[in-house]
Point group: C2
Chain length 365, copies 2
């Protein structure tokens, strides 16, 4: 009923109305229309009478501003980019948490977010310049596994913020959380509970975060004056499949020996893989083996996993805000952010997969 009869034309019209069209319809210049409809900074004011004519014409023609044209003149798309690797096998919960923070903060600042899914960082680095081609105003690199030599791929003209970068890049603000402290706190907690044989299934050794978690594991032992058992740190990847594979292989290789009392997984996904293996073997968690993860993604919450919480959403929010500040600064609208590195604290999350060690050791079958 309320739909005007004139709107019955077929969808998928070729073109939308332009400012020139509106101006013509209203009998004024395109720039008058621009001033009225898009708030362009014109030197003078428009009279109320012509303003109304323009608004009416715009409504009649169903005028919509064209974002690419505006971007061309303003040198700004009001869009942030978020580049990361997304496996097609497994959903990346780490990404989802950060992404939610980014998109939320970006929206509050009137910015859109486009996601660039790179197949991997080795290939992806070379593609970064192509992303910074005006379609985004700034780029967030999420957990980029890049080396110092990849700095050559970072373009001059686009502000960049990284989260959990592997190396410091000049001119790039990096955000991270204190992973070593978090890992150390968790392992210290395990040691305090009486666990002595703690198996650590780590992420890849070329990941700084993975190395820091190993450092935390070692440091907790040092602080407690305890020598970690040999061969209890294993390197793999940050996904569930790796957790399954690593634990299975490790248990096979150590058959007949004493079962670890606790497993400290490099992240929650790895922990989920461990849970699969333990469940399949009928090993009760935490009665027979304690299991803890890292990140506090939804995986941990769904499985009630003990874990180390990283403020992922907040990292995303802060990255977006700092990036928008950088973009504003580049365009001369504001002072650039002074911070170049931000480390947020981590926090222990005690789920139901963490208990005291058994009095008598279990044997690996």
């Amino acid at each position: 009923m309320s739909t005007p009869p004139s709107s019955t034309k077929a969808r998928t019209t070729r073109h939308a109305a332009t400012l020139a069209d509106v101006g013509r319809e209203a009998g004024v210049s395109a720039m008058a229309a621009s001033a009225v409809l898009n708030g362009a900074k014109t030197s003078a004011r428009i009279s109320d009478e012509t303003r109304d004519r323009i608004l009416e014409a715009a409504r009649r023609l169903n005028y919509r501003p064209n974002a690419t044209a505006r971007a061309l003149t303003h040198r700004r798309m009001n869009t942030l980019g978020l580049a990361t690797t997304l496996s097609r096998d497994e959903l990346n919960q780490y990404f989802l948490e950060v992404f939610n923070g980014v998109i939320e903060a970006a929206a509050e600042l009137g910015q859109n977010t486009t996601v660039f899914a790179l197949p991997d960082w080795a290939q992806g680095a070379a593609r970064i310049p192509q992303l910074c081609d005006g379609r985004i105003d700034g780029l967030i690199l999420l957990a980029p596994l890049l080396g110092a030599e990849d700095a050559r791929f970072l373009p001059d003209h686009t502000p960049i913020v990284s989260i959990h970068a592997n190396v410091d890049f000049p001119g790039v603000i990096n955000l991270e959380s204190d992973e070593e402290a978090g890992a150390q706190a968790m392992v210290s907690h395990l040691l305090a509970l009486g666990h002595r044989r703690i198996l650590h299934l780590a992420g890849p050794s070329h990941s700084l975060g993975a190395r820091r978690r190993v450092d935390g594991y070692r440091r907790a032992h040092e602080l407690a004056g305890i020598e970690p058992p040999p061969d209890h740190v294993v390197v793999g990847d940050f996904n569930t499949e790796s957790g399954r594979r690593l634990l299975t292989q490790w248990l096979q290789a150590h058959r007949g020996e004493e079962m670890p009392q606790a497993i400290f997984a490099g992240n929650d996904a790895i922990a989920m893989g461990c849970l699969d293996v333990l469940t399949a073997r009928g090993i009760a968690v935490p009665q027979q083996v304690s299991l803890v993860g890292f990140d506090d993604t939804v995986l941990a919450r769904a499985a009630r996993l003990a874990t180390v919480r990283q403020p992922l959403r907040e990292l995303g929010q802060r990255a977006a805000r700092l990036l928008v500040d950088s973009v504003d600064a580049k365009l001369g609208d504001a002072a650039p952010p002074t911070v170049t590195n931000l480390v947020l604290p981590t926090e222990l999350v005690v789920g139901t997969t963490l208990g005291a060690p058994r009095s008598q050791p279990l044997r690996i079958e």
Copy 2:
């Protein structure tokens, strides 16, 4: 070492080099450069000699094509939009699964994906026209809670594909899965196991999907010739908090009566809320109460929840492909897709939260 010494200039340069710059540097016109560097359809060929000069100049100036300028002439950004509501309280796993499919298929077709997070559909509908302003070539509406009257907000000039729409919009391709069949199959399975008092905690009644799941619940009972117990369908929202709240309230309202033998949650998030409540009350799943969800998100996989699998990733992939086809068609590059509606099958996933009913009924405390 391999970094050229000329790259020591400060980051955040104001402008990138343009085609005109490259042309000047190479002593040719901008359009020759355009033809060589961006493959513009020029009427004639460029000689190898000038081509080399241009390539060399571009390399020297570090030329990068400007996406907004190209978009302005091509009328195409090579970017798809994905509009959905994202709560700031709870991560939307449904979104993540679909999004992964979209971004994957889009990337294969050389398209980027930008996500528009709407606060809610009631407000969001009016914002759709602003999204279709040239920054994206086509739009995917993810589970839009829109009514037929909202069709007026869908712009003429941007192809649109919806996933799990509530109503059919003219000219909009809709993709969905057979939710009623999935719900019916699950409830039939419960009935076949001997469950008779099955509590259904549904999604909101203005959601077509929620209603279809209720229909499936009813239909399964009909097919089995069983009258569903009274007051065993409760309407709420599609999130964990709603699951917690609904079940708590329901149990309070039905204190002293017989405990349901099974709970069929409207989606996995609701099921997670139920799991919280059951765990808190010390009710064992599935020994005392069976629990099943819907969607097969990562929540279900992490909690080993029985659920109804919707091919969410595939829905995302197909939506992206159909949308790109529509965009191509609009630009005259191809024939438009002939399909207007696509229904994919669902599938039962039997987790560990589903068992036979207890012989003697439990009382609600």
